[in-house]
Symmetry: none
Subunit: 401 residues, 2 copies
């Protein structure tokens, strides 16, 4: 069964509002055997109060054992099968800098590199060139002209930039040109299928012209191309859910992911408090709000248990402002676990809380991994979160007579 | 989503070791209403100690309500969809006697039977002929020669033996020749499809020559053929998981099943203690160990609750020797339930315990059916056990960027 298709058919409009608060990398692990996870250790009186009114579940993002990247994690939260709708690395990079990919686009992650006189790579990251130097160089590459193909070049940071080829008949199946070692020349772009032949040719032409433009640069006189990928074809939130959706996020990656599913990216917040300011101001203009909080993941990735605990407590502190807006459905969750103990994304399920006047409270008294195991939503797949949100918002009609 | 394909793509090598201890037929039922299951009644201090460090789940082998045979049960444990990778009865029988099936093979379960002068069956099991008599007879049938088809004959036990036809274009879809009643002649082998026509012809020729060889035998002067089946095409553990895997089992059936997925069968143990001896000796040579303990199932099949409890306690006693080896992931599970109360395999889920420094402990204090219901792995399908093992062994990369 394709749950998203079912939801699409059953959706009915109303005036209810849904808020999805995503604390990135929320789930965690104890540091010591028998200890508490970050969320269990954090003092979260506001979330615990919500837990008493709501229903929790232990949410698997993709499948048991599978650790999601940010792309698949968010697609799953948004209700899109993350295996079916795989976002290529180039497309994710373009999305991450806020580039709006269209159906005729192929995006490519590019690295500046250093080449010797023989054209062999001496440094795969162009001597860790700083963004202030690499940015203007990337912009310079916008001079490249390829007949029949529109070319976009966007700086990312340090040695990284992204190129988008736009045109008819451009497949996304082209091999990386990075030989992965120094002492070798960059490879030619080779098409893996007939549909990608024109893309490989465009890439070859791009490289030739770029090399001329970069000639004489002390560090970044060469380039490698990786992760060629066509834009994913994804139905919008409006089409699937009938929701006018807004994204409130600080980081370009999450703004880009939301844009891929047709959310409108609003505000230019730089802190969680500013994000809630944006939420309050835009409250009457949208049906659905995705609010992204980055730093739970960042401190998890740093391996800093105590700071992740503190970030969760910061997150807890803004809850009353969201509750005061009286959303019909309020969801608190993460896009994956990032236990400080592992200092990386992990496969562990994500404790998830849904609060609504229409929910069946499960009698739990606090929000956390162990409590979520006993929750009324049970152990469930992330792609069911949006259907649950829609149902609790009374935006889904009956299936069958 | 094909979870096994996903795991195959995401696997990364490392030096970690995984042990899967399978107590055959582990799950049980209370004898009296309100009573304990065999596992709950057994004194299992070692398993309970593991439970405090690990994470449990209630594992469904195939689907709710479906009782697995040993083949599907083990395939599911090994991470192969047991409905997709159905092992035919002939293939299972061949596998069970340690015959290594190849891609051109069709295996057939055969019975010696007694025929009267008119060629009608008087005893479908050849008077319960003992293995000492039937074995040499089966070996004698190796004299059969069929043009273009290689023939292998392997004794099994009592009236049972197995025949393997090897050749090009041999389909496995041939009807049984056993009429299922006495007083009737064995049926002719009939192909159910065009691809199996040559197999049916080979079988007919085999029967004709065998009848000549057996002519004059007092009990076993005839034969019936059942469960024609081509070798299942199964990717190996090495291909799928990148694991060098070893099987430690007493009984040929389980050794055969492990061999089907490319495990190396090691040692010639005859007891559980000897199995652990083999494990200890081979510890540095493999990444993954499947250790099979038969007697929990045997006593369940006997309908002997108390003895099944005792077998579980024997199983518990060897746990410290396994723990002492410090596997990165230790799994304790079964291939299905065999409640003494039903004296047969059953559909009930199997309590499953995974212990690893990377697991999220669920706070449970003992290992058993009721505790497993509250476990952090939730209610899950057996095909996810290997992905979970791989994840906890940190042998799976991130899905998507």
């Amino acid at each position: 069964m394709d749950i998203q298709n079912l939801v699409r058919e059953l959706k009915v409009p109303n005036k209810s509002k849904i808020v999805m608060l995503v604390a990135d990398g929320l789930g965690g692990l104890p540091i010591e055997p028998g200890g508490a996870t970050e969320l269990e250790a954090a003092k979260t009186p506001k979330l615990d109060a919500l837990a008493r009114r709501g229903v929790q579940g232990n949410m698997t993002m993709i499948a048991p054992g599978i650790t999601p990247g940010s792309g698949p994690g968010h697609l799953a939260l948004f209700g899109y099968d993350p295996v079916k709708h795989l976002i290529g690395r180039g497309a994710l990079e373009a999305t991450g800098v806020g580039f709006k990919l269209g159906p005729k686009d192929v995006a490519v992650r590019c690295n500046f590199c250093s080449l010797d006189a023989a054209g062999k790579i001496t440094d795969r990251r162009a001597g860790r060139i700083p963004s202030e130097e690499s940015g203007p160089l990337a912009v310079k590459l916008r001079q490249v002209k390829i007949p029949g193909v529109e070319v976009f070049v966007e700086p990312v940071k340090e040695h990284r930039f992204v190129v988008i080829f736009r045109g008819e008949g451009l497949g996304g199946n082209v091999a990386d040109t990075d030989p992965q070692v120094t002492g070798a020349a960059p490879l030619d772009p080779v098409a893996h299928d007939e549909a990608s032949r024109r893309t490989a040719e465009a890439a070859k032409e791009f490289i030739a012209q770029a090399r001329k433009i970069l000639a004489g640069q002390p560090k970044a006189n060469g380039l490698t191309l990786r992760g060629f990928s066509a834009a994913p074809i994804i139905a919008s939130y409006e089409e699937v859910y009938g929701l006018k959706a807004a994204c409130i996020a600080v980081y370009p990656m999450y703004r880009g992911l939301a844009q891929l599913v047709g959310m409108e990216v609003i505000g230019q917040p730089t802190t969680l408090d500013e994000e809630i300011d944006v939420l309050e101001k835009a409250w009457h203009n949208y049906d659905f709000f995705f609010v992204h909080f980055k730093y739970t993941d960042s401190r998890g990735e740093d391996g800093n248990y105590d700071e992740k605990v503190r970030m969760i407590e910061q997150f807890d502190a803004v809850i009353p402002r969201v509750v005061a807006l009286k959303p019909m459905v309020l969801i608190v969750t993460g896009d994956h676990s990032t236990p400080a103990r592992l200092a990386s994304h992990s496969w562990h399920p994500v404790p998830t809380l849904l609060v609504s006047d229409t929910c069946r409270p499960d009698g739990l008294t606090g929000f956390g991994e162990k409590q979520a195991l006993q929750g009324g939503l049970g152990h469930f797949q992330a792609v069911y979160l949006m259907p649950l949100a829609m149902a609790h918002a009374e935006r889904l009609g009956k299936f069958g007579a």
